[in-house]
Amino acid sequence: MRIVFGHAAAAMAAAVATMASIAPAHAHLIGTRFGDFYAGAFHPITDLNDVLMWLALGLLAGSLPSERGRWLVVLFPLGLACGFVLSTSAGIAFGGAATNAVLIGMLGLALAAGTRIPAPLLGLIGFSLGVTRGIANAAAVEATTNLILFGAGLACAGYATITLLMALVTAFRRAEGGPATAWRGIALRALGGWIAAVGLMMIGFTYAGYGSA
């Protein structure tokens, strides 16, 4: 009898301990400790300006010889981090719909024209673009946001995106082996024409008062 009660008491204690240790289940990473890291990493996807500019920069750098674009792997995420720090610490704001449209148009035109941009200039473009996008993404920061995690997530996303895009384009171009595959370079430049066209239309939309996208 005593043994039965002992087992029941143990089972009851285990049940109480189990129920006491129950924590809420988090379906989304935003509620976990590293939520702000993921918020920073995924925030650029929520803005079409980021998507287009990062894509255009990656395509442009990838279309050049790899030794010219190599420094972009470091400089673009560094620019993002610098822009983020400048905005969150000094309150610097930059850009707007017109600036974004001009940047998209210029990147697209450079790609469409097949411009052979020298490595220092490409690095400067990548860093400057990173700074402007870092400032733009810092607008999503709230009072409770962990700035270090958010900024680290943003910079890591920039690094991963640019590196992968450049690698993909380099591999795509490397397969060019004569007239039969010359369409690859043309396809890249046509994509640049599309991006430039979108930028040009955005300039029109901005001046017509349609507001930022």
Binding site: L200, M201, F205, Y210
Partner: protein, 204 residues
């Protein structure tokens, strides 16, 4: 047979069929990023005069060969976007619809007779038409749509239509393909003529 003679089961079946076939009535234009991209993407595809002219540009580029085959898909969207800016800013551009229809007629005829023009002249002809096509797209942006998403959708759809035309142009490798393409050019020219007459009738 009048409807009143239908059995209750058949009436019920017909009613159920009608209910199933009905779609939702959309009182508002497509909004947001997804709506803007979809509206922009569908815009060049839902205007038959636009669509056939864009395909004809691609086919004619393929017929003309290098450098037209690669210069046209790169520069056409940019020139068209310049026309789009004129439309967005509501700057006056007369005879838009007749010129768009005329573009289908001229480009279709060029494909049909396999017209070989000097590249600069062919590019100028296409550029003039591109301005008018872009103008129509720019002027018809729905106010609820995200402008950037609309621009992306419309540029991608236009580029894909060119690509479709260039792909059709690959049939030129075979003699029967050449005849087929010239027949398609003639059909595009006829449709362009129809749209031209209709738009001139609308103006009269």
């Amino acid at each position: 047979m009048s409807l009143s003679r239908l059995s209750p089961a058949a009436s019920g079946f017909a009613l159920a069929l009608l209910i199933m076939l009905s779609g939702p009535a959309l009182a508002h234009e497509q909004a947001g990023i997804a709506g803007g991209a979809l509206t922009g993407f569908l815009h060049p595809l839902t205007g038959p005069d636009h669509m056939i002219a864009m395909v004809a540009v691609g086919i004619w580029g393929a017929q003309l060969g290098a450098p037209a085959i690669w210069v046209l898909p790169i520069t056409f969207p940019i020139v068209m976007a310049a026309g789009g800016v004129l439309g967005i800013l509501k700057l006056p551009l007369p005879f838009q619809e007749p010129v768009i229809a005329l573009s289908a007629l001229v480009l279709g005829a060029a494909v049909a007779i396999r017209l070989k023009l000097p590249f600069a002249f062919a590019a100028a002809v296409v550029a003039v038409f591109a301005i008018f096509h872009g103008y129509a797209h720019g002027a018809e942006l729905p106010h609820a749509a995200n402008p950037l998403a609309y621009g992306i959708g419309f540029v991608v759809a236009t580029g894909l239509l060119h690509l479709c035309g260039i792909s059709i142009g690959l049939l030129l490798r075979w003699p029967v393909g050449d005849r087929l393409i010239r027949g398609m050019g003639a059909a595009i020219a006829l449709l362009g003529g129809y749209f031209l007459v209709r738009s001139l009738g609308g103006m009269a």
